[in-house]
């Protein structure tokens, strides 16, 4: 769900047209449209780089973790998931809210990683490393939009 769908749904529940505050919110969102698109494009183009450099930072801080255990298959899966989280952040940037991240990647996430035996505390560090690499690739305007979604991701772990 996007910010547009969200304000429409909340207006619909109270059977009214959009309030001027809601319309202003949408206007602000549309005004940042081209920054949102360029931020999402940069994340897409640099996913591999963010994951590779993020992993190096992560293993420095947290050497004893499944993705660094020498099992290439495990490393591959962990890094694949990290790439997926970057993709979900790119969806959030375009949607103007965090629903894509929540619905696709956070709902049930804890149960899944606990069952896989991947320590959530380590993942939290890993996500922080992805954020720090990604922020370095974005302009300050793009980073201001992307940052809060990465923060929400980090908090979720």
């Amino acid at each position: 769900m996007s910010i547009v769908a969200k304000v429409i749904a909340q207006s619909d529940i109270s059977e009214r047209f959009l309030s001027s505050a809601e319309l202003t919110q949408l206007q602000d969102f549309f005004n940042k449209g081209s920054v949102r698109i360029s931020a999402a494009q940069k994340l897409a183009a640099n996913e591999q780089k963010i994951v590779d450099q993020g992993s190096k930072q992560f293993w420095n801080q947290c050497p004893n973790t499944p993705s660094n255990s020498g099992n290439a298959q495990k490393t591959g899966l962990c890094q694949r998931d990290q790439g997926w989280y970057i993709r979900l952040v790119s969806y959030c940037i375009l949607a103007g809210n965090s629903k894509p991240l929540e619905d696709i990647g956070l709902d049930g996430m804890r149960e899944m990683y606990i069952s896989l035996g991947v320590p959530l505390a380590n993942l939290k560090v890993a996500m922080g490393c992805l954020k720090s690499v990604a922020m370095g690739l974005l302009s300050s305007e793009e980073a201001a939009i992307a940052g809060p979604y990465f923060d929400q991701l980090i908090r979720a772990f």
């Binding site: 547009v4 769908a5 429409i8 207006s11 047209f17 449209g33 698109i37 897409a44 993709r87 949607a95």
Partner: protein, 161 residues
């Protein structure tokens, strides 16, 4: 409900892909028309009651439908007609903002024809009122935004036929 953005994200996620080329172009277009949409929604929302009165005046007010025996008589049915036209205007405005018809299908058209036929609400006059609403809305919001609203009001009209 879907909106333009979600309708692009969901299928991309099914394939595990980022939004690229064509999809980003569609989003870019949508973002660029955002100001037009927000402005029109503001104009319509702040004068919805008068849009409805004027639409009724242009289409139904002076016809037999408001006389005894007509479907807008007595006042209870007149008010029900105003209420339904206000629903149509509100949902068409939502759909215009979202640039997506799905909310009309889900919240307005789903079962509407059956409801109207069981209540004896005549379809043709409803369509006449919606046609008048298109004209009134365009006068308020201008040609460009008016054409965009026409897409969604026409979708309701086609769903009633």
């Amino acid at each position: 409900m879907q909106d333009t953005i979600t309708s692009l994200i969901n299928p991309a996620d099914e394939k595990g892909q980022y939004l690229e080329g064509n999809e980003l172009d569609k989003l870019k277009q949508y973002f660029q028309t955002g100001t037009l949409r927000v402005k029109a929604a503001n104009q319509i929302g702040s004068s919805a009651d008068s849009v409805i009165s004027e639409s009724v005046e242009k289409s139904l007010l002076y016809g037999d439908i408001t006389l005894p025996g007509g479907n807008m008589y007595p006042t209870r049915r007149y008010a029900a007609c105003l209420r339904d036209l206000t629903y149509f205007l509100r949902y068409a405005t939502y759909a215009m903002l979202a640039a997506d018809i799905s909310i009309l299908d889900e919240r307005v058209l789903n079962g509407l024809k059956d409801t109207y036929s069981s209540l004896g609400v005549p379809i043709e006059p409803t369509i006449q009122a919606l046609q008048a609403m298109k004209e009134v809305v365009t006068q308020r919001v201008g040609t460009e935004a008016g054409q965009e609203m026409d897409v969604y009001l026409d979708h309701i009209i086609n769903g009633l036929r």
